[in-house]
């Protein structure tokens, strides 16, 4: 699966979609999907929570392990994907269709990579 070019990426394998100047949608990439395997559980923050760039906003669980999901920027959570909470396998079916949180009032971003830069980064990781 190639990484959509309209998205930005983090080195911790989150994808970021800028839905506006200061609003984003966040999810996990296909690389994350391959290394995590089948997801059986997702822990998300609550609407209204303040997130700080680089800190954990929640975690995902495969059968064997738990992995943190990191906030790519600071801001306020405006929505969480309830469907994903009930059906974590949605992520394995479509990593770029299964968003985790929506945020607004974005400040402080991580170093965000373009799809090409992210692809190069992933090749090095392997």
């Amino acid at each position: 699966m190639s990484n959509p070019s309209n998205l930005k990426y983090t080195k911790s394998h989150e994808w970021v979609e800028f839905t506006g100047e200061t609003t984003v949608k966040v999810g996990l990439t296909d690389f994350a999907r391959q290394s995590l395997g089948d997801l059986v559980f997702v822990n998300l923050p609550a609407k209204g929570d303040e997130l700080t760039v680089g800190e954990s906003l929640g975690d995902v669980e495969s059968v064997k392990a738990v992995s943190d999901v990191y906030a790519p920027c600071s801001g306020t959570v405006t929505a969480v994907n309830e469907e994903l909470l009930d059906a974590p396998e949605m992520f394995n079916e479509s990593p770029y269709g299964a968003w985790f949180v929506e945020m607004s009032n974005i400040t402080d971003q991580e170093e965000l990579l373009s799809s090409n830069e992210y692809e190069a980064f992933c090749k090095e990781e392997e």
Partner: protein
Amino acid sequence: MEQKTPLYDCHVVCGGKIVPFAGYLLPVQYSGVIEEHMAVRQKAGLFDVSHMGEVIISGPDALLNINRLFTNDFTNMTDGRVRYSPMCNEEGGIVDDLIVYRMSALKYFVVVNASNREKDVNWMKSHLVGDVRLEDISDSVAQIALQGPKSKDILLKLAAAESIPPKYYTFFDNCDVAGVKCLVSQTGYTGEHGYELYCSPDDAVPLWNALLDAGTATNAAGKEGLIPCGLGARDTLRLEAGMPLYGHEMADDITPLETGLNFAIKMNKEDFIGKKAIEDRGEPKFARVGLMATGRGIMREHNDVYIGDEKIGETTSGTHCPYLKGAYAMAIVHKENSAVGTQVEVDVRGRKVPAEIVTLPFYKRG
């Protein structure tokens, strides 16, 4: 530097994700833990378990030593039988759990955990008495496990019906399976009907391939649906079946009585290493229980278990169980809080997950 088992190349060919485990390179999964787990519950799965340790205890005093070293009673065993037992230290704690195959009155084949092999061999060797010999043959034995409801049908394609052990915890030696000479036992670590096959390392690859071909070929009845399964599914299967694992439900500071292995410890035996210490401890103050999460969250190992503000114990293993589709864990808790039906909370990374004590095993084959 990790070792490869004789089947390493087969795992690579099958797309196994290789990880280090107990000093070996083994597949944690191939197609996915959930798919592999479900295959074993519904059809069949094939496991490389060559990393396990095997020793032969032989001689006129073999039985004497077996009964001294292990807590179970092996006196009334007949040839072709298998028996499970913990092995204790002088304090009554568990050194390892293992299974014993009686080849003859003078020869026993013992299978131990891969991670404890060196420790076990050293322990046993230093506690032998009389006319007995112990030989570590681990490096000359390969082992494959075939588990699941379809396992017998698959084996029947490769071996004569008379060479397939008919009862749980029995075995036949010198069987011909697809032209490979092996010991076949009706044993396993999944909670399903199944077999463990022991052969020489040189025969492992042909045996693995023959089993895989027989299990995936289409015949009049359709495909048997055998797939290779890794360590991940091995763990979820044994946990779902309530089977203990050394280093989790057992350790050198837990006695067999404290971890619910009463069936495998015979206190009326004249003596065994650890007997006095266990007697001196009196009634066990702890018990192993099964927990089922009743709220959102997956309990893992080393999670504290609470009733209100009081910590009553700790989980020893835990995961999402694919067949039962829920979060289950085993825990060792204070005896007085161990009744089935007790409502508890488990601290999962700072969040209290509600759970209930349920009977073990969580899953039992139909």
